[in-house]
């Protein structure tokens, strides 16, 4: 049970990293990204492949995973820079699906749908599984704190102010002498780095990744986390991640209590409950539990 709770806390930490990344892209810079899981997958695969195939140290793999996700994020953001929001939604969603297709088919590299197993974890050999879980929790928690501090610093720095200005009125920001594209690309890359970092940490924690783990549902979880916590608010992102993981895990326990459900029906019911929760959250409390300090234009008023 303790192990389970620790594993839950680790996944809450990984979700928090992703929600923080999304907060930079969407909450602060106001850019739509429905392909979060794609950047998560890039981080996971790059780090796993570097450590497995080239024998790179885990820390180097994780850093490379985050950097690769940032680079991909910068490219996606540059390519889509001129697109309106609904087109951006389609392109980013398509991007994540394409990453998954590539991961399923480049068998020589990624082992296809069978996935990569035996990904090394830090000190996994030296520690008992319980100790490893606990160690990893501390590692993830420390990284959440570091990323949180960085992004919060960023939010209060002139850079963050410009991002929010672009989100609220891009034209006015450009007139004020800031070049919106450069800021948007940086924000996208920075947020993607957090997503990639989370993916890399996930790979080294579970020691196994496969294309089927990177489904659009994960993107929805992160959206739900940020929406529940409060878009534009970093504390909200972390809180939302904890709320969502608790909620997801509680459905895991509650659904089997309903008698007469097959395994598939149980899984279907869980996903149904989760999507319903997202709809209800969007509808009733779009500002989240911890709203950004003022009115939130991304949700209140869109172009």
């Amino acid at each position: 049970m303790e192990n389970y709770l620790i594993a839950m806390a680790v996944s809450a930490g990984l979700y928090a990293l992703m929600a923080l990344g999304l907060n930079v892209i969407w909450g602060m810079a106001g850019q739509v990204n429905l392909g979060l899981v794609g950047f998560f997958a890039v981080g996971a695969y790059v780090s796993a492949l570097l450590t497995l195939k080239l024998g790179a140290p885990i820390a180097a793999g994780v850093v490379a995973g985050a950097l690769a996700a940032a680079a991909v994020g910068a490219v996606v953001s540059l390519v889509t820079a001129r697109l309106r929001g609904d087109y951006l939604a389609i392109v980013t969603l398509g991007f994540a699906e394409t990453i998954r297709i590539v991961a399923s088919n480049e068998i020589w590299l990624t082992n296809g749908t069978d996935g990569l197993s035996g990904i090394p974890g830090p000190f996994r050999a030296a520690l008992t599984p319980e100790q490893f879980n606990l160690f990893y929790l501390c590692l993830v928690a420390a990284l959440v704190i570091v990323v949180f501090a960085l992004i919060d610093r960023l939010a209060h720095a002139p850079f963050g102010r410009v991002l929010r200005a672009i989100r609220d009125d891009e034209q006015a920001t450009a007139v004020a002498g800031k070049y919106p594209l450069a800021f948007k690309v940086k924000a996208f890359a920075f947020g993607s780095a957090a997503l990639g970092l989370s993916g890399a940490l996930y790979a080294h924690y579970t020691s196994y990744i496969a294309p089927d783990l990177f489904l659009p549902l994960l993107t929805l979880y992160i959206k739900l986390a940020l929406l529940a916590g409060g878009v534009g608010n970093n504390r909200g992102a972390v809180l939302g991640a904890v709320v969502v993981v608790t909620f997801l895990e509680s459905t895991r326990f509650l659904v089997p209590l309903i008698p007469g459900l097959s395994h598939v029906q149980g899984a279907a019911l869980r996903e149904f409950i989760i999507s319903a929760a997202l709809i209800v959250t969007l509808r009733l409390r779009p500002q989240g539990l911890l709203p950004e300090a003022r009115m939130h234009p991304v949700l209140e008023k869109e172009k």
Partner: protein, 288 residues
């Protein structure tokens, strides 16, 4: 080699014609309601399963079953839009698009709950493929093609000649002006949800007639459907047809140089290419 390429062209043109049906559904909804409705995926699945129940459980032939697919998906589309998506529209297109993704996953799981994850096939008479000049065509494919063409002809006639169709085009063109002329935008929104999602359901069943269906039938096609609509120009009905042919033929022709598994990546590449070179699509509206 020439025959093979001709065969791929033929297959692509047929696949594209079928793809045009849900792509038109998506594009009319976009034209009137102004948001990218990802719920097209689940409605295609719902149509496919409604047609399956009519065809396999009730023993109806393909033609009446496909009418059932249209009606059931259309009614579900009408109900879910009224109850779930409509309130989001005031909050903006991105909130609505996210809401429609949540809706599509919710509905997909309703289907999964009822039918499970197994692959299912329609009850179709077995027929030998026709051959001419070295090319191969299945009679069922020809029937699907005919159904898709008939559905498209019906939607074009609806938009061109009926009062409701003209009103829909007026709202798509200029909602304010349409309102001044006394067109009830609520009625138009309901009509377009019913027709658009009905077409998605019909398209879902057509896609399934060729192979098998499962709860992910619609979701697997969503990238191609969006690609067709975006390549042709979101909001343009003739554009959706042109775009669907481009994507259908492109996906088949990609088999010459790519592994079949990369078929669905073709749609994504086509979206990127079109949005970079000609952001309004081949026949449609501006993307930015």
């Amino acid at each position: 080699m020439v025959t093979e390429i001709l065969q791929l062209l033929l297959n692509g043109a047929m696949a594209g014609t079928i793809l045009a049906v849900p792509a038109i559904g998506l594009t009319v909804i976009f034209a009137v309601l102004r948001f990218a409705n990802f719920a097209v995926a689940s409605h295609a699945t719902i149509g496919a399963f409604a047609g399956y129940v009519a065809n396999v459980s009730f023993g109806l032939p393909v033609l009446p079953a496909i009418v059932v697919a249209f009606l059931v998906a259309g009614l579900v589309g009408l109900a879910t839009d009224e109850l779930i998506l409509k309130p989001f529209r005031a909050a903006g297109f991105i909130t609505t698009a996210i809401g429609s993704i949540a809706l599509t996953i919710g509905l997909e799981n309703v289907v999964r709950f009822a039918f499970g994850n197994d692959l299912r096939g329609y009850d179709l008479p077995l027929m030998r493929d026709w051959r001419f000049a070295g090319l191969r065509v299945g009679p069922q494919q020809v029937e699907n093609l005919a159904i898709a063409l008939a559905a498209m002809a019906a939607i074009f006639a609806f938009l061109a000649f009926t009062r409701a169709g003209k009103a829909m085009r007026a709202v798509a063109d200029n909602p304010t002006l349409a309102g001044i002329k006394g067109i009830n935008d609520k009625t138009i929104a309901r009509t377009v949800s019913f027709v658009g999602m009905g077409l998605a359901g019909l398209g879902g069943m057509l896609l399934g007639l060729d192979t098998t269906i499962d709860p992910l039938t619609g979701f697997r096609a969503i990238l191609s459907i969006f690609a067709a609509a975006v390549v042709g120009g979101l909001g343009s009905v003739p554009g959706a047809v042109v775009g669907a042919l481009v994507i259908g033929i492109g996906e088949e022709m990609s088999l010459v140089i790519l592994s079949p598994n990369y078929r669905s990546a073709v749609g994504f590449l086509a979206i990127l290419a079109v949005l970079t070179i000609r952001p309004r699509g081949i026949l449609g509206q501006r993307a930015y």
